[in-house]
Point group: C2
Chain length 340, copies 2
DNA sequence: TTGTAGGCGTTATCAA
DNA sequence: TTGATAACGCCTACAA
């Protein structure tokens, strides 16, 4: 049985032209809002379009124009993190908002294995998308490499330390980490540790550097532990390790809110009061932050704006104006709550 | 400046044919794994494909085959919920896994306004996707209506109470709610309330019915409050209201984990111990459940499997074999932790 | 088993 | 300002 046996054939430009008594060329010009169309013609064509219920055939347009009118959003994260990280959702929404306004379709490409990686690289080479936005790429990332090589318009949200020539949008992780650490110091803590993470990305590295810079001479490498993933479990393990090394710790900078949440639970378990005995600060201002007990003091990331800006930079390259390789840093702010 | 001034023209079937010394027809047959190709020809063509770096042009194939080879995933949620609901991410991943294995591309379509709704309906009519998966549709949903009318292959994850003729995959919310309520009763609670939600969806309605059924004669409508969204804030407001109505409440069934998390915080605030004074159970087994203090007893939903199954049902319709209108219910289980 | 060729619906070029 | 026409790259009858 045919799937669409009962559905009528879709109207084409040809049908519209016949209905309006015009040529296909004129109809096409009206559809694409091109100049040199008389008002009479425009009105007749628009009426005909409405009458026959015409909608443009994407495949034909793409074939003719040699573009896909789609932008890929490449998310390179293990599945578990994709589900946990609220920033990804916000970035996706921001990107989608900008693209759909410009008549581009957003295609999400999730990479969670080498096979996925190859498949996505193949998509890119195949002209499946006109441009890409890459979030959370790491050092040595094969997809980032492929994008660089193919030369497709692209933008990173955050960027891997080893790729240049592709613009990125991000936040100043160094300055933000430094600022919140300073604020933590301002609450008269004297023994402050850090649970660092994702040191294979610029975000992880810069947060650690900012922490170190704020502490200056008081920095003690012995009070820093690090884990690969920004995850709750990293916070649990990290806090245990930190307490084992320094039971008299009185301050902790967690590299993400999820890590801070894990740290808080361990502190409670060990009968330490927050913020009285130990002050804790996080990073992201995600849904975790408000959910924690006590509510978390943290750095607010403009995730939605990051997504919008990345989309705009890709669109700019598609139009031919953009300075590739330049980065944009968006402002962060500190949200001070009860945990420090 | 031209965007791709330096990129070489992509190889076509024509180039492969020339390289292999075969006709384009034969090359096409090899690419599509069709019968009636000699081994010699296949080998020659495959070598040529590798040599010239051929990748198929999607637009041309789509135009010719009158299909987009894409499936839309329609998420109809306010932005805030899209970010919070972990099920959505898991469903997306499951769907994506199945589709990419069948050479289909997943296109996410987020609806958060009437304008979005119209735009998406237009996509569907325009053949932008060959099929759709709709998650979290409500009663009277305009997109669900549009899908029904267009007659495009589709599947709901959960389904709106007022649409039939479109298959759905879901869980037995009634049975699951009933089972976990019974288990809560089994802990010797005598005054059990419910914070219901999303009563405009089958999930919300069925969870309430299951609760009611488990309680039987002990059911007291006065101990049920309801809020539109499965959200933390609904849990906060709901618990406050419930405590105001019945200070001696000793059990609560929250319609989702996020609601339960809000309820737990209010209970703590009011100096009630969980589970000693009040037992609390949730629904979803989302990331919230483990994050709560105490860890939440809840119903585990196979979200990933729901996504996979929905994708399979759409693919089946595309192939022409599927019994439309039939629903599939997947098994749930209870995860018993510390909150009750 | 292989080759040939027409056409999917658009847009762009050129001529009128 | 409008109309005619030639591609875009692929698939698939049909012929050989």
């Amino acid at each position: 049985m045919s799937i669409d046996g009962s559905r009528p054939r879709r109207a084409t430009i040809h049908d519209v032209a016949a209905e309006a008594g015009m040529s296909r060329g004129t109809v096409s010009r009206v559809i694409n809002a091109e100049p040199y169309v008389s008002d009479d013609a425009r009105i007749a064509v628009e009426a005909a379009i409405a009458k026959v219920g015409y909608v443009r055939n994407t495949a034909a347009r793409n074939l003719r124009s040699q573009r896909s009118h789609a932008i890929g959003l490449i998310v390179h994260e293990p599945h578990s993190l994709f589900l946990e990280d609220p920033n990804i959702g916000a970035i996706l929404l921001g990107t989608n908002a900008v693209l759909s306004q410009s008549d581009y379709q957003l295609v999400s490409l999730v990479i969670d294995s080498d096979r996925d990686s190859d498949r996505v690289a193949e998509y890119l080479r195949g002209g499946f998308v006109d441009g890409v936005i890459i979030i959370s790429a790491r050092a040595g990332d094969p997809i980032a490499r492929a994008v660089e090589k193919i030369g497709i318009p692209a933008a990173f949200v955050g960027h891997p330390p080893d790729i240049s020539g592709i613009p990125f949008v991000g936040i100043d992780n160094f300055a933000a980490a430094r600022a919140i650490t300073e604020r933590l110091i301002g609450t008269h803590r004297t023994k402050i540790g850090m649970i660092a993470s994702a040191l294979d990305r610029d975000s992880g590295q810069d947060r650690l550097s900012g922490f170190r810079s704020a502490l200056g001479d008081a920095f003690d490498p012995h009070l820093v532990v690090d884990f690969p993933l920004y995850a709750y479990s990293s916070g649990v393990d990290g806090m245990r390790e930190l307490l084992a090394r320094a039971p008299d710790l009185d301050g902790v900078f967690a590299a993400s809110d999820s890590i801070a949440a894990g740290a808080l639970d361990v502190l409670r378990e060990s009968n330490r009061r927050v913020p009285e005995d130990v002050g804790v600060v996080g990073f992201d201002d995600s849904a975790w932050a408000l959910r924690c007990r006590p509510a978390l003091s943290t750095v607010r990331q403009p995730a939605d704006a990051l997504g919008r800006m990345a989309a705009q930079r890709v669109l700019a390259q598609l139009r031919g104006d953009d300075t590739p390789g330049e980065g944009t840093l968006l402002e962060t702010s500190i949200v001070w709550r009860d945990s420090a």
